[in-house]
Symmetry: C2
Subunit: 286 residues, 2 copies
């Protein structure tokens, strides 16, 4: 396989699958196919030239696909591979975009055909909308992308996925264990989404007249895809609970300082936050 | 006083004071003055034409000022009025921009000269930076602005402040009691700032490589001005604690649903958040 001279199939033409297809198209793979149960999504994707051809029947594209990118709900990934195991092309590489990794990879490697290679992936990109109509090739530009390779993965296959990820515009590719991935995501992704949802709970009829940017920004991701996030949080239960409890502790220490009218302590807490945030955002921008 | 034919003095040339001056300049008041203890800020403001003239000696501009806008730290407002009471022009209108109102207004009205009129104001505008160099006349454009008038205020004075607020570009002017203001702000402003600070606490050396927009947005305002926020939270102690506890309860219910692996409950919570957020942001944009 030279350059991007292989057949790629995207499974699931939602926000991420659609965006992935758009971004991959620019790399000119031999064929870019898609599978979806939604005929309309396929028709739209074909008409817009996002994919070369789409299928509701998985078998057809799978037997000739060198790379398969699973962009379905996390809970459906294992099921998809299991049910279609016999149709995969010999030596095919399968990757995914799920926001949790440990359970998924363990399960898949338990039954995966020996010639196939599953490499866990997670683009740290998204939008607060779902569906193909919000897809854009630009969502990957400058984004972080995490790969969670295992000793089962072939080095050249990992390198190929990395090449694709760079190709669609991602900035940092981090290779870490699935376990580490899930620990980190509980904090950097699941926690802010939980906070945003919890913050929305108190919104009333007139609240919009009394907000500034702080509230709008803090609740941006509260426009949650409920099914997806329920999947992720339950799958990453242990880490998420731990991070929620750490967060509760921090909120508690601020609360105590307010109760004690401890101006100095509050200033210290906020100064720390300010300095951390400044350093953090500087690093994000590099 | 016809049109904007009066003398205005801004007290405190920080982010908000500086921005206020810039926006007011466009309305062409008779004179636009400023008071600050920082000579450099005054020099810069004069040189850039943000103000007509600045003073470190309060007395000079105060005796001829029809309107005084206090843009200093909340804890300094009362002190400023008390110490300079004798210098205010007869019948002058004083307003402020503090993020808490009830205590402040009660205290001020306790000793304010009978001919003076203090009208509490709070522009729901800001930035995660402090100081004159980040000031911009645009921060008020489209923003919400809250006024907390009391029976002591003259109708025509309230109308004049409203005219100014509209003039600098604010969209909604809400007139509510100081008590109501503080209750609402504990939720729409103080809570998101506390959350942002608490969320930063767990940031490590490498965190920036594992974040997407959700984390960045949720922590934007963690770049806090510690002194200002310590002032605000302590001043609005009771309401803030109440809102933190409501928030803790919501987070707790999400936590329980995760512990119970209650997919349906999580989906319901997130669907509710999504619908609320969609309605909310639609209203914000109108």
């Amino acid at each position: 396989m030279d350059g991007f001279d292989f057949n790629i199939t995207i499974v699931g033409l939602g926000l991420i699958g659609g965006s992935y297809a758009m971004a991959l198209k620019e790399l000119k793979p031999k064929n870019l196919w898609a599978v979806d149960i939604d005929k309309e999504a396929i028709e739209i994707a074909q008409r817009k030239g996002i994919i070369d051809k789409g299928y509701t029947d998985v078998k057809v594209p799978l037997k000739d696909s060198d790379i398969i990118i699973l962009c379905v709900y996390p809970a459906l990934m294992t099921k998809f591979i299991k049910e279609n195991m016999q149709f995969f092309k010999k030596g095919a590489i399968i990757t995914d975009v799920a926001g949790t990794k440990e359970t998924l990879i363990k399960e898949i490697n338990r039954f995966l055909r020996k010639d196939l290679d599953f490499i866990g992936g997670h683009p740290m990109a998204g939008r607060e909308y779902k569906g193909l109509s919000f897809a854009s090739k630009d969502i990957f530009v400058g984004a972080n992308y995490i790969l969670t390779p295992t000793p089962y993965n072939k080095k050249e296959n990992i390198a190929l996925i990395e090449k694709i990820v760079k190709g669609i515009g991602c900035k940092n590719i981090m290779k870490i264990s699935a376990k580490k991935h899930d620990e980190i995501m509980a904090y950097t992704s699941q926690l802010p989404h939980i906070m945003a949802a919890a913050l929305m709970k108190g919104v009333k009829e007139e609240t919009h007249l009394f907000v500034a940017g702080s509230f709008r920004d803090a609740t941006r991701v509260a426009r949650l895809n409920g099914r997806l996030w329920a999947d992720l949080l339950i799958d990453n239960q242990e880490n998420t609970i731990e991070k929620i409890e750490e967060f509760e502790e921090y909120v508690g220490s601020i609360k105590n300082a307010i109760i004690n009218k401890d101006h100095e302590e509050l200033e210290t807490i906020f100064e720390d936050a300010r300095i951390k945030r400044e350093e953090f955002i500087k690093k994000c921008q590099h």
